[in-house]
C-alpha cells in the first residue's frame, strides 16, 4: 500500500521471491538447453530456446492459475498470492521470448510481413491435425501482454476495479488458447505420448482445484443461520475466532469478516476496496486488518484505512453473550466507528493460561 504510484513496491520479501523466480527460470532454461544440446546436437540454439521458453511459460501459467484455489483450500499458500503479479509478468516475459523467436525463425526471414505470414502461411482452419496453431498462441500472447501492462495499480484505478478484473479474467481464455496451441501444434508432430499426458494432467489438476475451491465457497455462501433475535444472528462461539485472524460469514448474500483483536471482536465487510480481495482471509498486522491480496489496510474499529489513505468499508455491530457471538448483518455506513465486543474469557481458562 503506497500513498503514490511507484514503479514497483519491492520490499525484502518480494526481492527474495523475485530472485527465487529468476534463479528458477535461469536454471530451468539452462538445463533444458544443455540437455537438448547433449541428446539432440542437430537442434539449433533458436529451436532449443523456443522449446525451453514454451515449456517454462506453460509451467509458470499452471502455477499462477493454481495459486488462487490453493489459497482458498489452505491459507498456507497465501504468501504465493501476495506475489502472483510478479510471477504473471515473468510468465509473460518468458512467453514473449518464445513468441518473438518463433516469429523470427518461422516468419521473419521472407519478404512478407511476419504478422501477415503468421496468418496466411497456413489457412487450414477446417483441419484438426493441420490447424494453424500459431495463431492461437499469438492471441494468447496478446491477452498476456494486456494483462502484464495493466498489472500496475495505476491501471486498476484508471480502468476501475470492475473493468480491470473483467480484463484479467481473460486469462482463462488465454489458458484455453495455450492448451489448444500445444495440442494442435507440437503434439501433432510428436509420437511420444508424454507431452499429451503432461498437458492432460496439468489441465485436470487445475480444473479439479478450481472446482473444489469454488464448491467450498458456494457451501460457505449457502450456510443458513437459523438462530436469530432482534436483528442479530448467531454466528459462532467466541473461541472459534483465532487471535488476529477472522472467520467469514455470508449472511443475506453479503460476506462479513469477524476479526478478533486484543480480545475484542470486530466485524467489517469482507471485500477490499482495492481489488475486491477477501479481507477475512488476511491478518491483523500492526493493528490493521491487512488484505491478503495486495496489503491494503483497514482499522478494525472503523473500517477506515489509516491516514493518509481514504478507503473505507462497512462495519457491523457485534455482541457477545457468554461464549455466543451475535452479529447484526445490517451494514453501518462505510467507516462508522464502533467499539468491539469484548470476549468473556472464563476464569478457568485464565487460570490454565497462567499455569
Amino acid at each position: 500500500m503506497g500513498a503514490s504510484y511507484l514503479a514497483v513496491g519491492w520490499n525484502r520479501q518480494k526481492k527474495i521471491y523475485d530472485w527465487f523466480i529468476f534463479a528458477f527460470c535461469a536454471l530451468y532454461l539452462t538445463t533444458f538447453i544443455a540437455v537438448t544440446a547433449l541428446y539432440n546436437p542437430d537442434y539449433t540454439f533458436e529451436t532449443a530456446l523456443i522449446r525451453s521458453t514454451a515449456t517454462l511459460a506453460i509451467l509458470l501459467l499452471h502455477v499462477i492459475l493454481s495459486i488462487g484455489p490453493l489459497t482458498r483450500i489452505n491459507k498456507k499458500f497465501l504468501p504465493l498470492l501476495y506475489n502472483r503479479r510478479h510471477l504473471g509478468v515473468t510468465m509473460f516475459s518468458v512467453a514473449l521470448i518464445h513468441g518473438s523467436f518463433s516469429m523470427l525463425q518461422f516468419h521473419a526471414l521472407g519478404n512478407v510481413n511476419p504478422f501477415v505470414s503468421l496468418f496466411t502461411s497456413n489457412t487450414q482452419y477446417n483441419s484438426v491435425s493441420q490447424f494453424p496453431f500459431q495463431a492461437l498462441g499469438f492471441f494468447a500472447l496478446v491477452i498476456f501482454f494486456l494483462m502484464a501492462i495493466t498489472s500496475h495499480d495505476f491501471w486498476l484505478h484508471t480502468l476501475s476495479p470492475k473493468i480491470w478484473k473483467a480484463l484479467h479474467m481473460f486469462v482463462y481464455l488465454a489458458y484455453f488458447l495455450v492448451i489448444m496451441h500445444v495440442m494442435l501444434g507440437v503434439v501433432q508432430y510428436e509420437t511420444n505420448p508424454v507431452l499429451f499426458v503432461m498437458v492432460l494432467a496439468g489441465a485436470a489438476t487445475l480444473v479439479t482445484l478450481h472446482l473444489v475451491a469454488g464448491t467450498k465457497e458456494v457451501r460457505k455462501d449457502n450456510r443458513i443461520f437459523k438462530l436469530k433475535k432482534e436483528g442479530f444472528v448467531y454466528v459462532c462461539e467466541s473461541q472459534d475466532v483465532p487471535d488476529n485472524c477472522a472467520k467469514i460469514f455470508c449472511i443475506d448474500k453479503e460476506r462479513i469478516a469477524l476479526f478478533r483483536f486484543e480480545n475484542k471482536l470486530y466485524a467489517i465487510h469482507n471485500v477490499c476496496k482495492h481489488q475486491g480481495g477477501p479481507l477475512g482471509e488476511g491478518q491483523i498486522i500492526d493493528g490493521c486488518i491487512t488484505c491478503p491480496w495486495h496489503g491494503y489496510q483497514y482499522l478494525p474499529q472503523n473500517g477506515q484505512s489509516p491516514p493518509p489513505f481514504k478507503e473505507k468499508v462497512s462495519t457491523y455491530i457485534v455482541t457477545v453473550e457468554g461464549s455466543q457471538v451475535w452479529l447484526n448483518p445490517q451494514p453501518l455506513p462505510e467507516g462508522t466507528e464502533r467499539s468491539g465486543a469484548a470476549i468473556i474469557i472464563p476464569d478457568k481458562q485464565i487460570i490454565e493460561n497462567v499455569q
Binding site: 505470414s117 499429451f196 489441465a203 480444473v207 472446482l211
Partner: protein
C-alpha cells in the same frame, strides 16, 4: 472476491471442465499416426559411395550420388551455413519450367545434411535437361536455381 465474481469463476471453470478435455482428447485422437513432416528424410540414410555431380554455392553444396552399379541414386544437400529460410522444398523441373511442373524431391531446413532417394532420372546424362529449384513454400517464392 465479491459473490458475482466467485460465481463467474465457478461458471468459467465448469465450462473449462467440459471444453478442456474435449479439446485435448479431440486433438490427440486427430494426431496422425506418423509425423506430419514426411517430406524430411530420415537421418539414417547413408550416403552412396560415388559422386556423379556436384554444385557448390556460398551456403550449400549439392551432390548427386550413386552406387557402383548405377542402380540407385541419391540427392545429397549439405548446408554449409544456416539458410535464411527456415524451411524450403527442392523441386526437379525441366529447364525453363515453373515449379508447378516440377517433381517434389523433399524438404530441407536451415541447417544440416539431407539425403533423398531419387530415381534414374538423376543420371548425369538425363540431368542436363533439368534443373533443381529451391522453393520457399510458405512465401511461395523461388530461392535459388541449380543447374548441373
Amino acid at each position: 472476491m465479491i459473490k458475482p465474481l466467485r460465481k463467474r469463476h465457478l461458471q468459467i471453470w465448469t465450462a473449462l471442465a467440459v471444453l478442456l478435455p474435449l479439446g485435448i482428447i479431440g486433438a490427440r485422437i486427430a494426431t496422425p499416426k506418423f509425423p506430419a513432416q514426411t517430406l524430411l528424410q530420415p537421418d539414417a540414410a547413408k550416403p552412396l559411395p560415388d559422386i556423379l555431380k556436384q554444385r557448390e554455392k556460398d551456403n550449400y553444396i549439392v551432390f548427386i550420388r550413386s552406387n557402383p552399379q548405377r542402380s540407385a541414386f541419391q540427392l545429397e544437400w549439405l548446408n554449409k551455413n544456416p539458410l535464411t529460410w527456415p524451411s524450403a522444398t527442392i523441386y526437379k523441373v525441366p529447364k525453363g519450367s515453373s515449379v508447378n511442373k516440377g517433381i517434389l524431391i523433399g524438404r530441407i531446413e536451415s541447417r544440416g545434411t539431407y539425403r533423398f532417394t531419387v530415381d534414374a532420372a538423376f543420371e548425369p546424362e538425363k540431368l542436363s535437361t533439368a534443373q533443381l529449384i529451391l522453393y520457399d513454400f510458405i512465401h511461395e517464392q523461388i530461392i535459388d536455381t541449380i543447374n548441373f
